[in-house]
Amino acid sequence: MAPRTTPEVGGMGHSIKRKEDPRFIRGKGTYVDDVVLPGMLYLDIVRSPFAHAKIKKIDTAKATAIPGVLAVITGKDLEKYNLHWMPTLMSDTQMVLPVEKVMYQAQEVAAVLATSRYAAADGAAAVEVEYEPLPVVVDPKKALEPGAPVLRTDKKDKKDNHIWHWEWGNKAETERAFAEADVTVKEDIYIPRIHVASIETCGCVAHFDKVNDKLTVWMTTQAPHAIRTVFALVAGHVGLAEHKIRIISPDIGGGFGGKVPVYPGYVIAVAASVLTGKPVKWIEDRMENLQADSFARDYHITAELAAKKDGTLTALRIKTLADHGYTDAAANPSKFPAGLFHVCTGSYDLKAAHVEVDGAYTNKPPGGIAYRCSFRVTEAVHTIERMVDIMAHQLGTDPAEFRMKNFVKPEQFPYKSALGWEYDSGNYAGALQKAMERIGYAELRREQAEKRKRGQLMGIGISSFTEIVGAGPSKHFDILGLKMFDSCEIRIHPTGKAIARFGTKSQGQGHETTYAQILAEELGIPAKDIQVEEGDTDTAPYGLGTYASRSTPVAGAAAAIASRKVLDKARKIAAYLLEAAPEDLVYEPGKFSVKGAPNRVKTIQDIAFAAYTNHPQGMEAGLEAVSYYDPPNLTYPFGSYICVVDIDTGTGDVKVRRFVAIDDCGNIINPMIVEGQIHGGLTMGLAPALLEEISYDEYGNVQGGSFIDYLLPTAVETPKWETGNTVTPSPHHPLGAKGVGESATVGAPAAIANAVVDALWHLGVRHIDIPITPPKIWKLLRAKGITD
């Protein structure tokens, strides 16, 4: 679709250059660690070497003797203010600092406050803690066995490590479908613990101004407004009222879900600032970031899929054990303990499905955040895409043909899934067809057959995913009771320029640019004349923040609706200026003209000026509007990815030769930015598929706790992504847009895993858990007698 506005205006569909970039390429961004205040103190944290241990004694004498060290803060100090525990987003409880025992390796034990970063680190190293190790529970399956040590001894009535049981779907119908099925397949799929590892770690500068009783916190957060409310609720009893709390989320060096939670370090820094009246900076290092901040995934899944002889899929049944670490600190909407995992019927027209998830406590760090995905959707997509592939292979059908047969058809939208979601729009076959043509699917299959004859291992993997983003309709979606709307406030200045503020917070997505383009599209004011601001709770309207690809679906919609409110008033002012009736005016972006008299025109700039200098009597001056947008439904982006891999039979190395990604996120605001989001998402899909995992040994020692052994893809491992798109607008979004930031992360791992299994199926391989590392493949090839 050709853009409706000129390149100078820069509305939707224009790849305008980003407004953020001039400061970033000069090194003039302002990230949290760049904030320096006079008299600022530094906080460093003492962490536990044990995964489960009683704290017998904390000796601070040597630490406080170090020049520059002012204080050592322990759980007992916070206990005096009842701040040693805090609630999690899932209404569980989490220690800020422990009083009795530690529950995972690298847990916060004490904090050192000092006049410099180096003195604080010296102090942290000098704090002496005496521990009494306790039995460690690492495996969530063992955690639920009778007789397992009960971890949450702080909960008086807790007699086991089971957190919750959740199920969804029609169990009886699903069982009937399985009983009637001609073919069923079953597989255990583990989706391991991983970490977002944004290149900027987490941190804050907390400044409590004792004179004005005001707390300002510069903080690496994706959800500043919700954080302000949480701080007010948690610390209200020590005098922090919400109007006296200002959260500033400055430039953020990547978030991906890892900057949604409230970590203990933030709370300790705030407490230290309130007590001392001085600004306090806490910046975690990379090892703390990987070892203690929220993890993602860690789902132990058993999935079954049922089909008729002719290859028609009928039903899906899933049982999952979710390892939550020592507390359920998942970042999910309140009503959904397993997030949106029940979108797991994916792109397929299944008649019945049933999902069960059980949460377990273990001696690991808490979390359950997204890793660039909308609330457990990657887990869902990986499961269904693996299972569909296994079924296709089992039936001896080509996986592409098998998908085509079972897709939800375009004419079925809006489509009600077996698990109750209403998919807004889609053309799944269209995307897969385009991907197959682009990559030359038939030719690749011929090449594969040839190579197989010669003993060479080549695989082709498909993933035809459906995403679910843009939480969400307030009747179902809230976080701690806060409804998941989002907001935009627009003010048009007299000279026709504008400022727009939002309740979301960009972490690299380019909101300053894309939001300006939405306003440009609606109002006809050039994007360059629109300043976009977010992240300061004193100035921006309330919103739930940026995660789960919700900015465009929710705040982007708010921008359109607020713009239309501005235009309602602009129309009245234009009518007054043109001496015509408002209903006799025709609008095109940036100007109103009189019907039948196109020369009688008032531009948005004329109207803005009049709103302050010559507004009609009886009308209020000014031209502004605000929208708190509550979406009627989620949006369902989708796509089809095809991956070609070659496996080195000597080393077990998997090389991604080609990867074609066809995405559909509805109408596109800035094509350049959308493509960039997909490139990044694909790379964060490749990462867990081939490289990343955080695991624990039997003592609860973290493996993968630094960049030495937690392997992020570099430019060398990352293939040259081949991207393309189809456009199926969302029928309910005011701009026809859907979210896009996470689609590729959700869809890519299954395409890679499917390609690897496709290369090995003839050897009797049905499934390999990600990450598919060279040692894993090498061992497998040895077992199959392929390599020695």
Partner: protein, 156 residues
Amino acid sequence: MLVKVAINGEKHEADVEPRLLLVHLIRETLRLTGTHIGCDTTHCGACTVLLDGRPIKSCTMFAVQAHGREITTVEGLEQDGKLHPLQESFMSEHGLQCGYCTPGMLMTSVAFLKKNPKPTEDEIRWAISGNLCRCTGYVNIVKAIQHAAATMQGGA
């Protein structure tokens, strides 16, 4: 200890602890905050600066080791109000998103193109493999470097 360095052509001296990391001298003593910190193990490259023209990771070098030497940081790339061709191309090719790895990525690329003005794509990918980016998937960073190489060849 007294350390004297020239940063972006300007002479500085500071009395520092011998253990002060170069990145902290740059960021905290001299307040040039464009150079970032992303790890503790010399893997991510967010702290990359040029030391006598060679890219080094300033989180793994003591400030005193830079005594008497010349350092260039991202703030030194713009000359007389004119951006470096790599800064221009990172913008035009959408080679950055959150901007956090960008200064390090730019410094590595500046040194690389000096050494290898006509690189292949593979050479570019290896050259930046010590700089991690979590946002872009590297595709557009590679394009930006290719674009800058072409511009610089074109007689800029």
